[in-house]
Symmetry: C2
Subunit: 277 residues, 2 copies
Amino acid sequence: MEYNSEEEFLRNYDSSCFEKLSVTSDVLIFSVADGVQENYRKLNEKHFAILLVKRYDYPFKDKWCLPGGFIRIDETTSSAAKRVLKDETNLEDIYLEQLYTFDEVNRDPRMRIISTSYMALVDKNKLHNKLSDNASWFNMNVIESDESINIVFDNGNESFSVVVGKTLREFTTDRYEYSVIKNDSLAFDHPIVIASGISRLKNKLEYTDIVFNMMPEYFTLGELQQVYEVILGKELLDPAFRRIIASKVEKTNKVKTGGGHRPSVLFKYKSNNKKKL
Amino acid sequence: MEYNSEEEFLRNYDSSCFEKLSVTSDVLIFSVADGVQENYRKLNEKHFAILLVKRYDYPFKDKWCLPGGFIRIDETTSSAAKRVLKDETNLEDIYLEQLYTFDEVNRDPRMRIISTSYMALVDKNKLHNKLSDNASWFNMNVIESDESINIVFDNGNESFSVVVGKTLREFTTDRYEYSVIKNDSLAFDHPIVIASGISRLKNKLEYTDIVFNMMPEYFTLGELQQVYEVILGKELLDPAFRRIIASKVEKTNKVKTGGGHRPSVLFKYKSNNKKKL
DNA sequence: TGAATAGTGTCTGTGAGACAATATTAT
DNA sequence: ATAATATTGTCTCACAGACACTATTCA
C-alpha cells in the first residue's frame, strides 16, 4: 500500500499490526517515621519507612506489594503514579521521579507485564486522610554489604525480611544487577524494585534537595540530620553535615525548646535556583 | 468468581481485561569519530557522534530517528535494544544502560506507544560490517547553555540542528525537564531522548568506566583525554585528567611513535573491581 | 631547529573527616 | 549538677585547578 502523505498514512494505520502488552506503574513511597522517645531529653528515634499494600486477590494473594496499577491508554506512567499516590496517601504535588522500567518476561505470572516505577519521598505527617485499609507503613531496617542487601520490614503487627543480591556491572560504579535471594512476603519482583529505589534515593540525597519533600516547613538541623542518617544508614558528623546543607537551608528567628538541652534554631528550606552549574 | 489457589486463578485469567499498548525500545549509540588531521604533528580531531536511521516509511517519512523497534511479547526491552544494536552495527556484548522510559500520550501520531530507551557507547572502529543503507553516523556539535541545548548534526552530506529547552525541576540539581524548541529533521520526541542521553552520558563519564567501551585495547592518555573532552564539550587540564584516570588504566611497555613529537606510552584499561565503596 | 604533544612538579585553595570545646536547657 | 543536644572552631589530609617546566620526536 502506498501513501502520499502523513495524513493519509495515519488514516489507514492499523494499530493491531504489532503485539501489545500491559504496562503498570508502581510507586515507591518512602518516608521517615517517628519512633519512640526514650526519655524526655533524647530526640525521637526515626525509622526509614515505605508504604506497602496487601494483595487481597490473586496473584500473590495475601502478600505485600508496592502501590501500583495498570496504566490507561490515555494516561502517562507518571500520571498513573500520581493517581496511585493520591489514592493511597491523598498527597498531591509531590516530586515523583521515574526510577526504572522493570520488564523481565516472567515477572508477572499472569501475562507479560512491564512496569515503570516511580519514587516519592513524603512527609507522613502531611497525610491528612486515613490510609486505605489494605495499605500500611513498614519500617525498614536496611543492612547493606558488598554482595547483598538485607531489608527487614516491620509494621508493628507483621515482620519479614528479604535479601537481594547485588552484582556490580562491568564499567559501572553505580549500577548493580539485583537478584532475589530470599523473599517470602513480597509480591512480584518488588524486592528488586525496592532495593533499586533505596539505592537511588541514597544517591539523590547527596546531590539534590528531595529531602525537603518530607520535611515540615520549619525544622531543626538535628532533625534534618536524623533523616539523612536514617536514609543513608550511617551516622554523620555534625560539623560536616552542617557544612553540606548550609547552602540549602535558611535560619529563622524561631527556636525549638522543650528538650532538656540547649534549644535549637528552626531552619527552613532555601531553594537554590540561582547559580546552577 | 472465587479461586482456591494461585494455579486455579492463573488457569482462568483473562489477560484482555486491561487495555494493552505498544512498547518500543530505542537505542542511542554514541561514539567518538576520528576527524581530519591538520598536519603530521597534530592529533586527529575527534567528534562526538551518534548513529541515526533514515525513515523510509510513514510516519515521519524521510526524517532521521534513533534505531529502535517494537518489542516482542517474549522479549525484554533490553534484548530488543541488543537486537537493534546488533542489526545496525553488528556489535555484541556491549554495555547497554537503560536511559529512560518516554511515554507522553501523543509522542507517536499512530497510536499510544511508550518507548524505553537504552544507551551504548561503542568504538566505531570495531564495527566490522557495513552499516545498513539507511543508517548513518552523525557528528554532533553540542552547545549547552543554562536554558537550552543546541545540537548540530552533520553526516557529511546532510546537516541540521535541533534546539531543546531545559527546565530545572524543583528539588533537583540533575534532572531537567526537556522540551523541543526547534526540530525539523528528527522523528518523534527523539530530540529529547538524545538530549537526555547526552546529559546522562556526561554524568556517567565522571563516575563509571564506560569510556573504555569505546577505546581500543591499547590507547594513549592523550587519546583518552580527547574522548573525554569531546563528550564533555570542554577542555581538561592534563595533570588533572591524568590524576583522575590514573586508577583506571595500566601502563604498558608499548609506545606510540610517528607524530612529530615525544612518543606516548600506551595504556590499557584496568578493571577496578576490588575496593568498592 | 621548531612545532607539537607527552609527561611531571608544585603551589594554592577548597572542602571533608575528625575531634575538641563551648552553649544552653529541663529536670 | 547532670544528661543531652546544639553549635562552632580548628587541625589535617586529600585533592582539584592552575601554571610552569622538562622530555622527545620527526619533517
